[in-house]
Symmetry: C2
Subunit: 746 residues, 2 copies
């Protein structure tokens, strides 16, 4: 049996927790006057506890709800006996309106305990899990013999895979005394379920105590005030920095009591999480989320990590980023040059860190060769990386602070629209560590703050590359503008930093992009989730061009998002030598062909019919479908495409121009391979990515994608009233010249 | 007792349903081999049923789960009796691994029924609701006497406010015969809970039957295929157009049986909704959502509404919008001119429709005078509306298809970036009907398709204005590009049309904007949720300018988003005559002053201290706070502002330029009123709105906000391979001239 005597230092370690005490508190009680049992929440808690138990963990529940259950039951009984006849004959819901006797809590507890246990038993039975009832009082912990008995009973139950359900024996305990010895380190009174759970967790050497409540957790100032922030992790040394909010509505024990109980448990070696068990969106998985290490509620940890939290990192990045944005363009370029130089100067250190990562990956034996190749750095890779960085430094000089529009609104009232950085970018990238200096250079050039989240497999390489980026930033005292997020942080948690991050850029597989688009509800994501690109071969196409373009579009790099997935062929091409040549070429290139339904119907022996015309093969595979006309090709593209890149091959200029006009995709090409849809090939300079979104940036995105604008108005005291009908001024709205050459960077 | 013999025609009418049968089906059974009761779902169903019952509705439950419950119970008992000793001593979870006897379903049903009912009773007790158990067989419906007995028993229970829980008497019924008389119109066999629920609903003249299952509802083609769409509403006449997917995993009765039962109930006068009761995100409110008329699952209706569904409207709009986008700019202008003319020609019809709306609003007596004013149209309002439209027609001529960038990628390979419409816009506007022609003109000018959702209070006015817009669009055969969404449609449901709508623009209160930003998870929203604007009075400010600008910023239109909310004052200004003059001016203007914490600390008798420095008063109220320096003002703005509009008043140019540079807001002004943050005052021509987003559009947004770009590449057969190291071509990336004058519309 694994028992840890030291609490976990970080949430991610909670996954190892074997013995867990779940304290339910107000999570299972409904609010308001009609205080009763919250059945839905109770059931979902049972479901989660049973699941964790089935994973081999030892689960204990400290329950509330007996009083609430009993109150409902007694109330019901009393009312029925008082008024059964009236109620039966009125047909109205008079039960609700009748005055109620005041019920004593202990009587309610006694009346409710058995029903509550029956409910637990029925519920756990559904998961083939047995339960046992334990009622305790304060004295059971003070008397050594009783404590040993309790301890061994619980151990025996856990050994038999039974979930003990523990409650204070409310029917017999004296009422709690508000100011007794809860402060003590070695002694804790059982005066409520918080202290009971803490005491029990320590006594049983539990790894984790989950205390559910109806508050989110601990705040650094009273919830609702301007600066109140939920503490993700609470370190006992910081106790003076928190203030307690209002008491919870139901049951004894406000937040202060909870925190004291939690600290007591923590000192006893049990990790603690205080979380809201009543939030409808998370109730169904609050316990399992906590055990999976997700950021739910407040985690208590004795070990304060050396570095800042990710929230602090984001704050630091934003502040330093604002200074970065206010530097002169030359100064930002200097930083990028410095980083380029460091890549060469510190080559040995970088390669040795990279070697560590590679060795670890090879030893793990789980990384495919293609990924190893992406992970690995070499002197020549670093060299071309440095060259690329210097190009960014040159080409991006005038990206920030460019004047896009100047308007004389009125005399002495001039308006400018200028480019400014977006703010804080979060770039999430997989294996490829060379991404880090590239993205850093783009962020520096555009004056944006940057949070970097790299893959675990490149941790050592990323660490040193990030150090170099910060060293370069130090040249102009903006070291903190780029932050490397710990590998422990979950992408999902980062995507929740809604008001702190302005744009997320995933660099990696389309699966990564899709996952992040799903997780990042409130934050815009720059990226493309799929590329279902079409090449349409018109009946007036040139044979040579068709063969060249179709081959290149499919075979140049089949995994790319701009590779062709569906070949649309004009019906008249079907029984011509050209068509045979296309098929021969695809066979030679070993492209597996799937037939669209229409194409299949033309053939005696057809290849396998496609399952869906919306498939992104990403491999040497494609679909062929037949269309009657250019217009039908356009309709097909609109129906099944992903608006990424679509191509027409024809010698008829009129047909081509119509296609270019009609197809509603980010990139539309005439007689050119779909593979040209790429920032480098478009000549955009530094490539940020490809976007299939319809707002902000579309298609291949250059540095402009990292910029927004702000409006600057310079006046000498004008007011809106001056321009009203009664006012003395008139709008001029005269366009003033801007520096056209600077308008789009080359 | 209200009993409706005709089913409801539209979901919104479901709110009137008084008698409701809820059929639980597989919603309360877990999946997989370990088939058991899904307790969390069952509990939340009980919660919802009890809630509806407490609203005065008559609720009946047709339950499943007895077999599942019994299976778990018997399994458990058998295993325990088989192996209690081993299990007790091994301590391992061997129960799971042991082979299980095959349990007969009827025995399980018998064993489970009592436990299931006990569970229901315990759960409903929590809501002070009584339950009763009814077990029925097919025969009970065929025998007239038995049917009458059943009927009167159920009526008696409902009258007594008891929830009948009905199940087939599985222990005694014969196994179902697959091909019997389910097809019949007047007869329906009870062979599963679907037919039982349908039979019972009709027998009891229920208004609504909610059939929960583990599928979303009915699809028009097998779920998972390319074109499968969930049917929001199903009309019996369309039965041939649907295909049935796979059978549900648990219990008798696949989708076909469900549909037949539903149709049978519908013909009997009961409305039916088939929905998924197992989806974790909605389980907690699936039943109440249905009763509130929300778009959940498939609604069965006998009355097919005359018009298209909102999904069909969106499709029609997109198709017609694409044609609109391909028209010549002059043609789009012609449409706008035609609409402007119609506003004058059809003045009488418009005003008489508007009069109807006004009369209804006045008679309802619930509309404040300010809203009545916004709702009301007049000949002069229509006149200036027509003038505004003609201005849009003139100024927007070259907005679509403008070339923003031209690049010679290589010889005979030219790239253009051109402006194109975003796609389908959804504009949601409140009371103000003049919004409709304005927004229509903006959409037409920018070549976008448009869905309009206006307020109920302006229904008649909006209808005629929309007809005129379509009449104008007919000039170039794009009538369908603008669609008016029925007032019955919920904003929340529209916001879910994720892949069909490209941009949502709310025009109305900031509350509306916030609600829509919350609801529109997957679709971008153009708008501003709050404007917490600051004016900073520097110690080197001119008295005259301070008084003018502060007065205008706060008092010109206090409800506007660009009105000042917080006045930041340099410390040195505090004890000067200027400060007294500011306070006097604000008092004269009847502005209520709140003190920031720092300001309050300076005063002996301070006005009420602010609750939050992030308050948007939107009224003649503001907060005053003291800062030590311009930098501290900037820090305050970054901490508490909403990045909308912030102003500095100073005569020191250096301080001003630093402020303009440092403040990270959409609009930053020097010596000018915050009220200038407005598309019209900026001279942007047609104003689309103000955006506080940091991507796509920021600050006041003109027509550009409705445009995106596409990339057009014209080649003569080039491939990416031609440009590889082995290839024969080199990139030129030469910038070609563009028509600069057209770059930004005046």
């Amino acid at each position: 049996m694994t028992v840890l005597y030291i609490s976990f230092a970080h949430r991610s370690e909670l996954r190892q927790a074997k013995r867990i005490v779940v304290k339910l508190g107000s999570a299972v009680v409904t609010r308001g006057d009609e205080c009763g049992l919250a059945l839905g929440r109770l059931a979902s808690i049972v479901e989660q506890v049973a699941m964790l138990q089935n994973q081999g963990r030892e689960m204990m529940i400290v329950t509330s709800g007996a009083v609430a259950f009993g109150k409902q039951r007694l109330r019901h009984e009393i009312l029925l006996s008082q008024s059964v006849r009236q109620a039966l004959h009125s047909g109205q819901n008079q039960l609700k309106d009748m005055s109620l006797p005041v019920l004593e809590a202990r009587a309610c507890a006694a009346a409710g305990q058995s029903g509550l246990m029956a409910l637990y038993e029925a519920m756990f039975t559904q998961y083939s899990t047995c339960t046992a009832q334990i009622l305790v009082t304060n004295l059971d912990f003070h008397d050594d013999q009783k404590r040993r008995n309790l301890n061994s009973t619980l151990h025996e139950l856990l050994r038999m895979n039974i979930v003990p359900i523990i409650n204070t024996n409310d029917a017999v305990v004296p009422p709690p005394e508000p100011n007794s010895d809860l402060q003590g380190v070695n002694v804790i009174s059982i005066k409520d379920n918080d202290s009971l759970a803490a005491r029990l967790a320590v006594e049983m050497r539990a790894d984790l105590l989950i205390a559910l409540s109806d508050v989110e957790g601990l705040y650094d100032s009273p919830p609702g005030t301007d600066d109140a922030k939920l503490l993700d992790t609470f370190y006992p040394g910081d106790q003076q920095s928190i203030t307690y909010g209002t008491k919870s509505r139901v049951g004894i024990g406000g937040m202060e009591a909870k925190v004291k109980a939690a600290l007591w448990a923590l000192q006893g070696g049990t990790s603690v999480v205080i979380a809201n068990g009543t939030h409808p969106k998370v109730t169904g998985h609050v316990i399992t989320d906590i055990v999976e290490g997700k950021k739910v509620g407040t985690f208590f940890s004795e070990v304060k990590p050396a570095g800042p939290t990710v929230e602090q990192q984001t704050d630091m990045a934003r502040t330093a980023g604002r200074t970065l944005a206010s530097l002169l363009p030359e100064q930002r370029s200097e930083i990028i040059y410095a980083l380029a130089d460091l890549l060469t100067e510190k080559r040995e250190e970088i390669l040795s860190a990279n070697k560590k990562d590679l060795e670890f990956a090879i030893n793990s034996g789980r990384m495919p060769a293609s990924m190893l190749k992406r992970l690995s750095l070499s002197p020549s890779k670093l060299n071309s990386l440095a060259i690329g960085l210097r190009q960014i430094a040159v080409s991006s000089q005038d990206s920030v602070g460019r004047v896009l529009r100047r308007t004389r609104v009125a005399n002495n009232l001039d308006l400018e629209q200028i480019t400014v950085p977006i703010g804080v970018l979060l770039v999430i990238f997989e294996s490829r560590p060379d991404c880090l200096p590239q993205v850093s250079a783009l962020a520096i050039a555009s004056g944006n703050a940057l949070l970097l989240k790299g893959g675990k497999e490149a941790a050592n390489t990323n660490r040193i590359l990030h150090e170099l980026a910060q060293e370069a930033l130090s040249v102009h005292n903006v070291r903190d503008a780029i932050q490397l997020v710990s590998t422990r942080e979950e992408v999902e948690d980062l995507c929740r930093l809604e008001k702190m991050i302005d744009l997320i850029i995933p660099r990696g597989s389309s699966q990564l992009v899709r996952d992040i688009q799903r997780a990042a509800k409130g934050i815009p994501v720059l990226g493309h989730s799929e590329g279902i690109c079409h090449v349409y071969v018109d009946h007036e196409a040139s044979i040579d061009k068709v063969l060249k373009i179709v081959r290149d579009s499919k075979c140049d790099y089949p995994a790319a998002c701009n590779a062709m997935e569906t070949l649309l062929v004009h019906r008249d091409v079907l029984r011509t030598p050209l068509f045979d040549q296309i098929i021969d070429m695809l066979r030679t290139e070993q492209v597996k062909i799937h037939a669209g339904p229409r194409f299949a119907s033309y053939l005696t022996f057809s290849p396998s019919e496609v399952k869906s015309l919306r498939t992104e093969y990403g491999d040497l595979e494609c679909c062929i479908e037949v269309v009657d006309s250019m217009q039908e090709a356009v309709d097909h593209i609109h129906k099944y495409g992903s608006s990424h890149t679509d191509v027409i091959i024809t010698e008829n200029e009129e047909t081509a121009e119509q296609f270019l006009q009609l197809v509603d995709s980010a990139c539309v090409f005439w007689n050119a391979s779909s593979r040209f849809a790429d920032g480098y090939r478009f000549g955009l300079g530094a490539e940020v990515g490809i976007s299939t979104a319809r707002i902000h940036a579309r298609g291949p995105v250059g540095l402009e994608g990292l910029l927004t604008t702000k409006w600057v108005l310079r006046g000498d005291g004008q007011t809106a009233a001056d321009f009203s009908e009664q006012g003395s001024m008139k709008f001029l709205h005269e366009n003033l010249p801007v520096n056209i050459l600077g308008l789009f960077p080359v």
